[in-house]
Symmetry: C2
Subunit: 122 residues, 2 copies
DNA sequence: CTCGTACTACGATGGTTATCGTACTTTGGC
DNA sequence: GCCAAAGTACGATAACCATCGTAGTACGAG
């Protein structure tokens, strides 16, 4: 890896769609899943740069990997390696540029839902 | 709607979820389909109260029925019979109350997409 | 009453997706 | 070098969903 000396960041690369190619239907489809919605909500709630394992999702590791990939390929999150961990962050600015207001309204709605049903997942 | 003696309105009933029971994931899932998105866009574009047949969708009649049902059961549209026709309208106010800003941002995003790709469907 | 229109119900089919377990890879620490 | 931790790749499975065709229902016009 000729990535001149960044010892903590892995040379492993992950594909991310560029902002202009993020598709609305794909984003909506990615958000139409309770587990992925909870991931996005956690990332938006000040938990940026969390490792996948820190989310404690009610699914197996391989399923978790799957959901993170769906979010990444939809253009909703960005992922990068730090050691063995893969950290994630919301592409808030990119989404705001491409679909203004969409992510905030979804997050707002999801937060409202959790106030109604505090016994829900995550 | 006035129950007694409305000769143009059929007695056939259609189930609609009440506003407080509209679920975010269901709404997002319903919108994550290009055909349903085009229906919603058409309804928002001043074509309220259109009969299903007026949309000229690139699918069969039974598939069209299916998509309208998904939208109705998600709480996105309201449907009622007028003679043999079944007309549809967006539940704009209900959605704005339940998920403020969500529908406008989706519609705005979809309109932007159509400016990029005017050769797309519908 | 009959016919055409508009839509629905049902069953089938094929494609996508969510889930899992197992085996593997990459990385960092000892 | 070896091991544990974190995650990935792969294959299997089951559920879901979009699509269709056919047959049927409701309504209005004549």
């Amino acid at each position: 890896m000729s990535e001149s000396a960044s010892p903590t960041v892995s040379g492993r690369r992950l594909e991310h769609p560029e902002t202009s190619r993020i598709r609305l239907e794909t984003v909506l489809g990615a958000l139409a899943d309770p587990i992925r919605l909870s991931i996005v909500c956690a990332l938006a709630g000040g938990h940026e740069d969390m490792a996948c394992v820190a989310f404690d999702l009610p699914v197996s590791k391989s399923t978790s990997t799957h959901h993170f990939r769906v979010l990444r390929e939809a253009g909703i999150i960005r992922q990068y390696y730090v050691g063995t961990a893969r950290k994630s962050s919301l592409r808030t600015d990119d989404l705001a540029e491409r679909f203004p207001g969409l992510l905030p309204s979804v997050l707002n709605a999801e937060r409202g839902r959790r106030e109604e049903h505090p016994d829900g997942p995550t």
